[in-house]
């Protein structure tokens, strides 16, 4: 210290200087790289943040093509995020007890400031999430984005799909109103419906998986406090936890699988209007020039083999802006719906008088239509077949092909169109037939139940679809085409059944052209 001033004075001056610099030093401790205005700093922005890091630092421009993904995965994730936030708020007032649940929901709806809006947002975000998850699966399927490295992520997607349905179903019981009570009565008896088969075979006294599942779900033989506790536990802890874990894996895997699927021959037209990287504008050509191999690290070919250098841009900020915009869009849609349409709340649950008609939420109505032919086949058999079939797609269809184009090519489009017509025709014809003439039991009152389990409109539909898909497999000699045929059939039929059960089924599950024709009871 050569200064004339004393030691103490120096310390004081530094101290005040530090106070003045506090905002800056704090920011520097938090973000170590400078402003993201160089490519390097942009990469660092992504790399050094635990949340942003789930994306890679650079993405291919094709990823941002709007008519490729339609942003559906991000919309699904956004609605899940909104659901978590509003769910946490609802838990402040909700009381998971048979005596209090209904009243607490009524309080939320009519007394708590902002409660009605939050409850409506929660309900509407569920609907948006379900629609977007289904559409997202449809887009992944038709763009063949489930192939090769992405097979496992398709499976993770299936798990997310089941979790989504599970969350919405368990949430349905919580208000403890008539709607909830009877929907859950029906569903818990669907869980018990393997009994229909074991009864028909005379096995139930020895082997009763149906009864076991029902007791596991309800914690009792009847719907009561134990059922409510279990549903609350699933809805608020177990399923959201699993969802967050698997969703993280899912999005992380998108990155690890080489980014979103994209075709080999990307045309200039595909990338029109998408941000580009000024530094590299002239470098890229699409013709394959080199092969890349991460020798020793990666077995086989790396995803980039046979392509020109990738035409990428930094993810920060373009990708994040796009995602945030999608979040805001989702939020706006949900809020608008919540403002205009209230979430339903019927009378307090009454175990003696069922709702008539007792309808499940709309996305389960297709299944409810099938259930109205045979409880076991419609509620357990066909859904299991459908889920297994979906899960196996990437393992049974291993054809090499171009990825990332809707319907692949002209043949794909043609088969999808034909399958749509075929499936719509078969489904509508079968529904009309069933409504008009009934089914086996109407003609042969004493027919054994076993026959109805295996031959009912649901199984007949499935056989028509399987036949069609094998016919396409034979005709076009392609597993991908056959998969397109089958998938289209199932989706179209699902939509028609859902529509039919929503609008044309009234009291006693009778057929009506219009809701205004329902009898007053």
């Amino acid at each position: 210290m050569q200064s004339k001033k004393g030691k103490g004075e120096m310390g004081l001056r530094d101290y005040f200087k530090n106070i003045l610099r506090l905002p800056k030093t704090f920011l520097e401790s938090f973000v170590r790289h400078g402003k993201p205005n160089s490519d390097r700093a942009r990469s660092q922005t992504v790399m050094s943040n635990i949340f942003l890091h789930i994306h890679s630092t650079r993405i291919h421009r094709y990823t941002l093509k709007k008519t490729f993904t339609f942003g559906l995965g991000v919309i699904a994730a956004s609605s899940f995020f909104i659901l978590i936030l509003t769910g946490i708020l609802l838990m402040v007032y909700y009381k998971p007890s048979v005596d209090l649940a209904y009243d607490s929901i009524k309080d939320i709806q009519y007394v708590v400031p902002g409660g009605r809006f939050i409850r409506n947002v929660h309900r509407w975000a569920t609907n948006v999430m379900i629609v977007s998850v289904i559409l997202h699966m449809v887009r992944v399927f038709y763009t063949a984005a489930y192939k090769e490295t992405r097979s496992f992520n398709w499976l993770m997607g299936m798990v997310l799909f089941i979790l989504t349905l599970g969350l919405s179903f368990t949430g349905y019981l919580l208000p403890w109103d008539q709607l909830a009570y009877w929907a859950v009565t029906i569903c818990s008896n669907i869980a018990a419906s393997p009994r229909e088969l074991t009864d028909a075979l005379g096995l139930t006294p020895y082997f009763d998986p149906g009864g076991f599942m029902k007791v596991l779900l309800l914690g009792s033989e009847e719907i009561g406090q134990d059922a409510l506790t279990r549903f609350f536990w699933l809805h608020c802890i177990v399923l959201p936890f699993l969802m967050i874990m698997i969703l993280s894996v899912h999005v992380w895997r998108v990155r690890k699988d080489g980014g979103l699927a994209r075709p080999d021959n990307i045309k200039e037209k595909d990338l029109q209007g998408i941000e580009e990287d000024g530094n590299t504008r002239n470098v890229f050509e699409n013709a394959p020039q080199k092969t890349y191999g991460l020798m020793c690290l990666v077995r086989g070919k790396t995803p980039a083999v046979g392509r020109g250098p990738e035409n990428t841009i930094p993810s920060w900020p373009t990708l994040f802006i796009a995602e945030f915009a999608l979040f805001m869009l989702t939020f706006a849609i949900v809020c608008t719906l919540a403002y205009f349409f209230d979430a339903p709340l019927k009378e307090l649950a009454n175990a003696a008088v069922p709702e008539n008609p007792a309808k499940a939420p709309w996305y389960f109505l297709g299944l409810q239509e099938l259930v109205s032919y045979s409880a076991f086949m419609g509620g357990v058999g066909i859904p299991t077949i459908a889920i297994l079939g979906l899960a196996l797609i990437p393992y049974l269809d291993r054809e090499k092909q171009t990825l990332g184009r809707w319907f692949d090519n002209r043949t794909g489009r043609k088969v999808a169109r034909e399958s749509l017509v075929y499936s719509a025709g078969v489904t509508i014809a079968l529904l009309a037939f069933t409504v008009k003439f009934g089914w086996l039991r109407n003609w042969f009152p004493d027919i054994p139940q076993l026959v109805i389990i295996f031959i009912n409109p649901g199984t007949v539909l499935v056989s028509f679809f399987v036949f069609w898909s094998f016919r396409c497999l034979y005709k076009f000699d392609s597993t991908r085409i056959s998969a397109i045929a089958l998938f289209t059939c199932f989706i179209v039929s699902f939509i028609i059944l859902t529509y039919f059960a929503t609008y044309h089924r009234g009291p006693n599950w009778d057929f009506y052209w219009l809701k205004s024709q329902w009898p007053i009871h």
Binding site: G219, D226, A352, V353, V371, Q449, W509
Partner: protein, 163 residues
């Protein structure tokens, strides 16, 4: 190892020996596996309730005088209908055998609101997805003359309690 074996005059190729390290590794894997499977096994039974809430399964319906021939009474909260005809008293459960909704009586038929099953007077399925007839329940009489229905005991269709 093989050196030692060679000294002893046996060949490493003849005796399948395991190094101490491999042996311990196996033991550790085994121990971990056993511990986890014991835990899992113990927990398997956890979610299955040992006791069910005590919902009364037997209830009184009155005396014989309350049921003249042709009488019919619906016990809404018990989900049972009791009737008397020339042959005697009988009770039929109103729980639909399809998926558990409650059937109601219209024009001599039991109709289910949920998926449209219809049952005849005696509970036999006429149309709809219900896999079997409505259940007939056991009716009996206590020593003091009161009649009871036991919802746990099913009886074959047509069984009546003769009076």
């Amino acid at each position: 190892m093989s050196n030692v074996d060679a000294v002893k005059g046996t060949s490493a190729y003849e005796v399948e020996s395991m190094s101490r390290r491999d042996f311990l590794t196996t033991v550790v894997y085994g121990a971990v596996g056993a511990a986890l499977s014991f835990v899992l096994f113990g927990l398997l039974r956890f979610p299955k309730p040992a006791l069910f809430p005590d919902i009364p399964k037997i209830f009184k319906i009155g005396r014989v005088e309350d049921f003249p021939v042709g009488a019919e009474k619906i016990f809404e909260d018990k989900k049972v209908i009791v009737r008397r005809d020339a042959g005697g008293l009988f009770a039929i459960s109103l729980i639909c055998t399809h998926l558990g909704c409650i059937v109601s009586k219209h024009a001599g038929l039991f109709e289910c609101p949920c998926h449209g099953s219809k049952f005849d007077e005696n509970g036999k399925v006429k149309i709809g997805p219900a896999p079997k007839a409505l259940e007939w329940l056991k009716v009996s009489q206590l020593p003091d003359g009161k009649l009871i229905v036991d919802t746990m005991r099913k009886v074959p269709i047509g069984t009546r309690y003769a009076i």
